[in-house]
Symmetry: C2
Subunit: 457 residues, 2 copies
Amino acid sequence: MIKPRTPPGVLELLPREQIAFQRMLDTIRRTFERYGFLPVETPVMELTEVLLTKTGGETERQVYFMQSTGSLDKGTDGLPEMAMRFDLTVPLARYVAEHEHDLVFPFRRYQMQRVYRGERAQRGRFREFYQCDIDVIGKDALSTRYDAELPAVIASVFEALAIGEFTIQFNHRKLLRGFFEGQGIGEGERQVAVLREIDKLDKRGEAAVRETLVGESFGLSGEVADTLLAFSRVRAVGHDAAQAALDALGAGTPLFEEGRDELRDVLRQLRALGVADSRFALNLSIARGLDYYTGIVYETTLNANPEIGSICSGGRYENLASHYTKSKLPGVGISIGLTRLFWQLREAGLVDVAESSVDVLVSLMDEAGLDAALALSQRLRAAGLNVETQLEPRKFRKQMEYANKAGIRFVVIRGEDEAAKGVVAVKDLRRGEQFEVAEAELARTLLVEREQLRALS
Amino acid sequence: MIKPRTPPGVLELLPREQIAFQRMLDTIRRTFERYGFLPVETPVMELTEVLLTKTGGETERQVYFMQSTGSLDKGTDGLPEMAMRFDLTVPLARYVAEHEHDLVFPFRRYQMQRVYRGERAQRGRFREFYQCDIDVIGKDALSTRYDAELPAVIASVFEALAIGEFTIQFNHRKLLRGFFEGQGIGEGERQVAVLREIDKLDKRGEAAVRETLVGESFGLSGEVADTLLAFSRVRAVGHDAAQAALDALGAGTPLFEEGRDELRDVLRQLRALGVADSRFALNLSIARGLDYYTGIVYETTLNANPEIGSICSGGRYENLASHYTKSKLPGVGISIGLTRLFWQLREAGLVDVAESSVDVLVSLMDEAGLDAALALSQRLRAAGLNVETQLEPRKFRKQMEYANKAGIRFVVIRGEDEAAKGVVAVKDLRRGEQFEVAEAELARTLLVEREQLRALS
């Protein structure tokens, strides 16, 4: 006998949790499609030489390789031939480069699949998790107007998910780097190093970061360090405040002005798109990633749960697939790590176990009622209800217990009395009520009840 | 520069194919839920010792193992610690055994995920493919009435998929083995061997199979061989014909009678469930698998495309999870191999590339129109339409070409003239028509048009 268990680092759900998770996936997908994004799925495995084009570092150490029994030995370069995706961005790059001539640009794709990372086993760290990504990819160029569309999608997604008030925060790499230039930090690598320090503000605090900046390795003057820190403190919620905050930054280098103009455009479009002012904020401390992003960057946080960190992040990049094609493919994208988010919401008590996806249990009182129960179940299904049929007569109490435990809301009873009257009795376990309804009216009645409750919740 | 390409043996789709594929997945899921099945997802990887409990053979040779860079060496038993699922049945067994005390029985689950097999690279063979499974698992016992529910689900699935007329064919292991007993083939292993030969009728033909049966290794008399072949020739479509065919088989051993009674019950219930007579048939040549099934077995074929083979198969089994738990868990289940089916339908020209999931392109004629285009797009989205906005003004012809190439049906135009009149012009690329409609009526008009076309198709 072998103990049944999953490997560490995966999130496996019981059915009613899975229903709640599936509803989140469905909501995200529906919203992505509302904004005109097209579905893509890629294989879980890629050729190792295709997946690991970059000088790996952290990521490469976390990659899972895939081998069948016949080929457990390593390939010629010491690595197995196939490896599993660790994000959805590298597969997107490969996909767009491979299918370039069959795609229409700007290419708007969404992808919602699991990715794999050999993380150290630790609570809240997952080796398999869902990412829900959207990206818009341009050929040669992509208007910065797409930078404003993505926060509108994020806002719609999290409004629809209804997991609490949230703020989409953004910053801009050109604004940041232009500001650094203005402070005499003109050299690219030095900018990245400073950015890396700014990125640590959350964790290390201002005093420690300031100390580093004025220390030996950076050698900034105290004045410059203070100016950088003051800059990184800028926060402004909503269109008007953010525009005012941008105005108040004073004149800057051409790069700085370019970034500021792009941000102003984004703000204007967010207003035109009707995104509520409370949903977005300028936050000049956001650095995000290090080499990848070249324009706007986003992070999204739950107002009441800042400890969860960013629940949706992304930004603008210059060239998606330089390893695979000579075409220049700039883009902008965001990603939601849904497995981690779901786990954290559950930990914080913010997601409930869902009711069953089954709406109705058609009960069975005696053998003679079987055919009628089957036929009734089929009519309810044809009307759009999810129905389970009790196939063997059991004590009524047992059937009620079953429905209750399974989270099924309605139990339909069609005993002899009811059959003679042409009605059925309905137990509504959610409301704790029982009522009778003409059999011909049953489907419509239950659909209305279901819609009412959905509208309320 | 690395050539962007997928590993062999995977099916990667372009967006409009993916939309068609996704619609099939959605249809299957919706139908599974209509019948009261609950969603389950399991991790792609299982612990090797959990996954490979059986004395592997073919399957074990096809298993993919998963290893991170840090642990490319083999585990203590010579195999890596984690392996990837090759079907959804073993993970179901592990899941039910692991979560036994948190599940409600009979446990009705559906699972639609990809599985992995190290198949030889060959056209039409996939190393990664979707399976869409449903199973009902009982604790200690499970009424054979569930055997009739599954064909009703299959019928609903393939009616909804609308890929052509189909027939759900079934046979019964008890009927078969009982019949063998009646012919003096009483010993279990010998029955399995004969079954294995019967299973080859399709490929080898009757004459070759007969030769084997009367040959040295089996040593059956010519009379017995003829009786077996005559039995395997029985086909009967629909309730009445199938009942009559069962009657005509004459009396048999207790096991035979048990199987026949169960089949009769299934037929009666299929009628009560309103499954059309043309959808199901008794076919006594079906053997399916070898040791696993113990009762009814199903295969489903497309009437016009028998060369595709079975598109949905399954049956009744005695005990799901004997490797993991002492509880007896009998069940009945079916599986659709959707990747292979989709590929075959496409090869046979039976699936079209879908229209885009994007319903509407809101065009943009000049810079001044941007805010109005964004606001209009949001109103259409709020009404339930999938909308892409043209974010930069381009020549109208270019925008139409884009919509056409992308498969977007409606292009909405709001030029100066239209704006002054409070109307928008709509190009319907599907019908090749153009019309004007009041802006306030636009969403409703497009929704009606969309529904009309869906109702037609």
